[in-house]
């Protein structure tokens, strides 16, 4: 029984990650495409912060690999970027948990920007201010994502 419920709880984590991946490739109008928030990074950061024993570099790396294949970029690009971001989160998760939400949001800003920069190293076309859009939108959305994921975690009692 205990094993069964535990497996179901981790299942919740993977479902949220899957939903995040689907949100990343959901068709959007051209204007919004450039500003798509990095749902997967945000979800990974939340879980790495809340349950560092469940979601850590390995999970992040694997999620990044799935992203690489779904979006068709060179393999390992997202994997590397996500693993790097989650490494930082896992390292500082105790501090991050203490931060007020807006301060967390700024951590998200830098982390998402970092991830975005790394995953774009391979792309030859970059127009200056567009690079910032996903990071800024992610930052604005962070309180919302945080609330939703916390609600999910408490409802399903993931631990």
């Amino acid at each position: 029984m205990a094993i069964n419920s535990r497996s179901q709880q981790t299942w919740v984590i993977y479902v949220t990650l899957l939903i995040a991946i689907v949100l990343m490739i959901l068709p959007l109008p051209d204007l919004l495409r450039q500003a798509r928030p990095e749902f997967v990074v945000m979800t990974l950061i939340y879980w790495a912060m809340a349950l560092p024993q469940r979601v850590s570099i390995g999970v992040a790396w694997f999620t990044g690999l799935v992203m690489d294949i779904t979006t068709g970029v060179q393999m390992g690009v997202h994997a590397f970027a996500y693993a790097m971001a989650i490494y930082l989160v896992a390292r500082f998760h105790l501090q991050l948990r203490q931060y007020p939400l807006w301060q967390q949001a700024f951590t998200i800003l830098s982390l998402v920007f970092l991830v975005h920069l790394v995953s774009m190293l391979n792309a030859s076309m970059t127009s200056s201010w567009h690079i910032w859009m996903p990071a800024v939108v992610s930052t604005l959305l962070w309180p919302f994502v945080y609330a939703v994921l916390r609600k999910i975690r408490r409802n399903f009692q993931v631990s």
Binding site: T70, G72, Q74
Partner: protein, 313 residues
């Protein structure tokens, strides 16, 4: 962390350098196909809903419109066929072999947004339909791109606008050859490496030249929208608007290989039927010319008039 970095670097190298890695990648792409179809579901669903909600009147109107369109296109096709046959005959006279018609297969776009910095799309045909890497992709107006990666049920298509894509073209007006490359989302295409004195103007149509052997000859690529000559640069800056509707086309066509029409085999049977019909009266007329100057058929008047002086001499 070190492990993740090492694994990533290993993947970079394997993906970029090893050809053996391709089947692995293709298998993995097959594995993520459910995720992609899940993401395209909302669009399909809204399409389905709007299909359901269309009323009879609208549908009837559309059917009439489409029927009219089909009729005019059929008429045009007949003319095209006649012209094609004529073209083949002329080319045969010149002794040049030429690929005329390609068979195409319809594929539908999976409505999935990929990385906005890569101009890629996913289509719903894969290995099971014989799609192969490098296969040219067209839409109803022109060239869209080529297949970059094939998995079991889907494949990834690189669009013309992708910065890493280049296509050999020629100008319709004068046959000038060039290479057109992409510049990313929403940007026009660019003609590369044409010197300042190249004969290319705004409004020129570019079609595929067939050099490189990947794209079939003669499909429209785009129209030149601007030509500037930046001083101090070796090459002209030429922008091209793609002919294909890259952002709105949902149905696209995959050009099937192996449809090279061999002239020596195919033309004679096609040609034998009309040739005696047109040639014998013409020869007869030439022979009969001194006696009868008046030709009964207006079509034959031209050769008859031409042969008059030669016969008179």
């Amino acid at each position: 962390m070190l492990l993740a970095v090492l694994a990533s670097l290993l993947l970079f190298l394997m993906d970029a350098r090893l050809d053996i890695f391709k089947p692995v990648r293709s298998a993995l792409a097959t594995a993520v196909y459910p995720i992609q179809s899940l993401a395209s579901m909302p669009t399909n669903f809204t399409d389905w809903i709007s299909d359901m909600l269309q009323d009879r009147e609208d549908l009837r109107e559309r059917i009439t419109k489409l029927e009219a369109q089909a009729l005019t296109q059929k008429v045009r096709m007949q003319r095209m066929q006649a012209l094609e046959r004529e073209n083949m005959r002329l080319r045969e006279l010149l002794g040049s072999s030429f690929r005329l018609q390609e068979r195409v297969q319809i594929a539908e776009l999976l409505s999935v947004d990929l990385d906005p910095f890569y101009q890629h799309v996913i289509i719903d045909k894969g290995k099971q339909f014989g799609v192969y890497e490098g296969q040219p992709v067209l839409d109803s107006r022109g060239v869209m791109g080529q297949v970059a990666e094939v998995s079991q049920f889907s494949s990834r298509v690189v669009l013309l606008t992708d910065p890493s894509h280049a296509i050999p073209v020629q100008v319709v007006r004068n046959g000038l050859r060039a290479v057109v490359t992409g510049r990313g989302l929403g940007e026009p295409l660019q003609v590369e490496y044409l010197p300042h004195n190249a004969d290319i103007r705004v409004g020129d149509w570019l079609v595929t030249s067939g050099l490189g052997g990947r794209f079939p000859v003669g499909y429209p690529v785009g129209q030149v929208t601007s030509v500037t000559y930046p001083p101090g640069k070796a090459f002209a800056e030429i922008s091209v608007k793609p002919a294909a509707q890259l952002s709105t086309s949902r149905e696209l066509m995959l050009v099937l290989p192996g449809e090279k029409i061999d002239f020596s085999l195919k033309i004679p049977p096609v040609d034998l039927i009309p040739k005696p019909a047109t040639d014998t009266p013409l020869m007869l007329q030439e022979a009969l010319l001194p006696e009868t100057t008046e030709s009964p058929n207006p079509q034959d008047e031209q050769p008859a008039a031409e042969s008059t002086p030669s016969d008179g001499n």
